[in-house]
């Protein structure tokens, strides 16, 4: 489905690397000189206690924040500043910690909105939804229906998402991100506020997305157990600094990590 890429990145190659990135708001340093990389095809977790700078990191990667120092290389292209629109065009999709959906629109339209960048027919045809625009709409609807089927949300196709329970909203948000056919999928606490059953469902979807579409996933998560099951590699942040990076087992055994989670004074 994806357009052929000239300098195609193979599984295992570095898809994105963060080098020495620092970010501050006024006097508050949110991120201090953090570096790590995300390899194509892996599930990469970013964990850390509250206020560790995880969401800020995600916002930097996706262009919502611009770091004062350091740079980010995505698909071999270096850049310091990038707008969210460029990130989306480049193949980065994301979900939000507290769900950011188009609440008055139904599930179908929300996910269709994820296709925005894939639809190219001109404003003129759009005006009348005629000819090419009509055909394009139908082709994209098919892709969206496959996502709906994949996430098992057929029954809420026509329900305004604002009326859905939280767990389903998170699923729709994932669907919208998938509709972008991203190369890198950023998930900000995908399991927050869910009950056990919903968490397990979400885990299954994340693994399926990774297996089925080969999508690279970077996720922030609070629940250590979930992370250890899901992720191939884990980077740990604390007070805006990287304190560990490695496989789940390595990270679990790391003294700095244990201290951070137990709240040992710095």
């Amino acid at each position: 489905m994806r357009a052929p890429d000239e300098n195609k990145i193979k599984a295992g190659d570095t898809l994105l690397s963060v080098e020495n990135v620092s970010l501050s708001f006024g006097g508050v340093k949110a991120i201090r000189g953090v570096s790590f990389d995300i390899k194509k095809g892996e599930i990469r977790a970013i964990i850390g206690p509250n206020g560790a700078g995880k969401t800020s990191m995600l916002n930097v990667i996706n262009g919502f924040y611009h770091p004062q120092e350091g740079q980010i290389t995505f698909k071999g292209v270096k850049r310091r500043k990038m707008r969210p629109h460029d990130a989306a065009t480049g193949g980065i999709a994301r979900t939000f910690q507290n769900v950011a959906l188009f609440k008055s629109m139904n599930t179908l339209d929300n996910i269709m909105a994820g296709r925005s960048l894939k639809m190219h027919q001109s404003f003129f045809w759009q005006l009348f939804r005629y000819g090419p625009a009509e055909r394009e709409e139908i082709a994209h609807r098919r892709v969206v229906e496959e996502i709906i089927d994949f996430l098992e949300i057929q029954h809420i196709r026509r329900v305004p998402v604002g009326k859905l329970p939280y767990g389903l909203q998170k699923r729709v948000e994932l669907g919208r991100a998938l509709a972008m056919e991203p190369e890198l999928l950023l998930l900000d606490e995908p399991m927050a506020g869910m009950n056990l059953e919903e968490k397990e469902d979400m885990c299954r979807y994340i693994i399926d997305v990774n297996n089925h579409y080969g999508t690279t996933i970077a996720l922030i998560e609070h629940d250590m157990g979930v992370v250890m099951d899901l992720a191939n590699r884990v980077v740990v942040l604390d007070y805006g600094q990287k304190i560990a990076d490695g496989t789940p087992d390595e990270v679990k055994a790391n003294q700095a990590v244990i201290d951070a989670y137990l709240g040992v004074a710095h």
Partner: protein, 318 residues
């Protein structure tokens, strides 16, 4: 007792006694309502997509109409002038986005609101400079807009309807229908609704806010042009017309700032209510009733439906 009779009984007796007059009044109310709806629609479009209350909507109506008439006066054929006027509105939308909105992105709403004040006064000054300050006559004939009255026999009386009013109603309905279609069925329409719901989420899926703003301002500009033509055809085109924007305020209070159906139905209710009030209760309450009656109607409605006409029921959990 006398006053109660005059307020609660007499007007209705009059309505029953001369039903043809009632129909005439209702029709005139509807026509006024259609124009209110159109203006309110311009406000709603921009408010929905950017959260900005566009004070300049009124002057945009005047500016569009004057551009059209001036172009014609300069010797451009009527329909080409119309096309050029559309282009002018596009340029205006584009420039506004570039010069006013983009630099102010992420500023508080009140700053953006003030910016539209600035825009208003700029457009007045700039307009007077290039179009001149004198009232102009709308080129209704040249645009093949119908004129003259049609008379209907109703309840034994005669109801007289201006053809231009019928045309206004038709144009307004077409405009609303195509906007509704555009909003619900196309990608850009979907993107517009998406931006209205959440800027953050819209950005994350790659919707360009700048592009959307140009489109909504352009759409509001088109609505302003239509309003300007119709309103101008009934009287004349002058800078005084920009105060009609204030007439749309009660409509927005009634219909809600974000609801298109609210703008339409609200406009019609205010239009009809105003005319009925003026005609039947006006003599009783003296002159000047039209300056505050619309607000009264809106407030009375809000007493019963605080969420506005089409708003979702708001239940605050404490």
């Amino acid at each position: 007792m006398e006053i109660l009779y005059k307020v609660f009984i007499d007007p209705f007796v009059q309505m029953g006694a001369a039903p043809d007059l009632l129909v005439q009044t209702l029709w005139e109310g509807l026509v006024a309502g259609v124009l209110y709806s159109l203006i309110a629609l311009g406000f709603v479009l921009i408010f929905k997509a950017s959260g900005v209350f566009n004070f300049a909507q009124g002057i945009m109506v005047v500016f569009a109409a004057l551009a059209l008439v001036t172009l014609y006066e300069k010797g451009v054929p009527a329909f080409i002038a119309l096309g050029l006027a559309v282009l002018v509105m596009f340029v205006l939308a584009y420039a506004t986005e570039r010069i006013v909105l983009r630099p102010l992105v992420n500023q508080p709403d009140i700053i953006l609101f003030m910016a539209t004040f600035g825009l208003t006064y700029f457009l007045i000054g700039f307009g007077e400079l290039i179009f001149g300050g004198n009232p102009k006559v709308m080129i209704a004939d040249q645009l093949y807009l119908p004129k003259g009255p049609i008379d209907f026999k109703v309840f034994g009386g005669l109801v007289s309807i201006q053809k231009i009013d019928i045309a206004a109603a038709v144009v307004a309905s077409l405009m609303v229908a195509s906007l509704a279609f555009f909003f619900s069925k196309t990608r850009i329409g979907r993107a517009l609704r998406a931006v209205a719901d959440s800027h953050k989420a819209a950005l994350s899926v790659g919707i360009s806010l700048n592009q959307i703003w140009v489109i909504v301002w352009f759409a509001a500009g088109l609505v302003a042009l239509a309003t300007g033509i119709m309103w101008g055809a009934r009287s004349e085109v002058s800078f005084a017309l920009q105060v009609v924007a204030l007439r749309a305020l009660p409509v927005l209070i009634l219909g809600g700032f974000t609801s298109i159906p609210g703008a339409i139905v609200g406009g019609l209710i205010i239009g009809v209510g105003e005319k009925l009030g003026e005609f039947y209760w006006g003599p009783l309450l003296g002159r000047g009733i039209e300056t505050w009656l619309a607000y009264m109607i809106a407030l009375v409605f809000l007493l019963f439906r605080p969420q506005g006409l089409f708003g979702e029921k708001i239940i605050e959990r404490i």
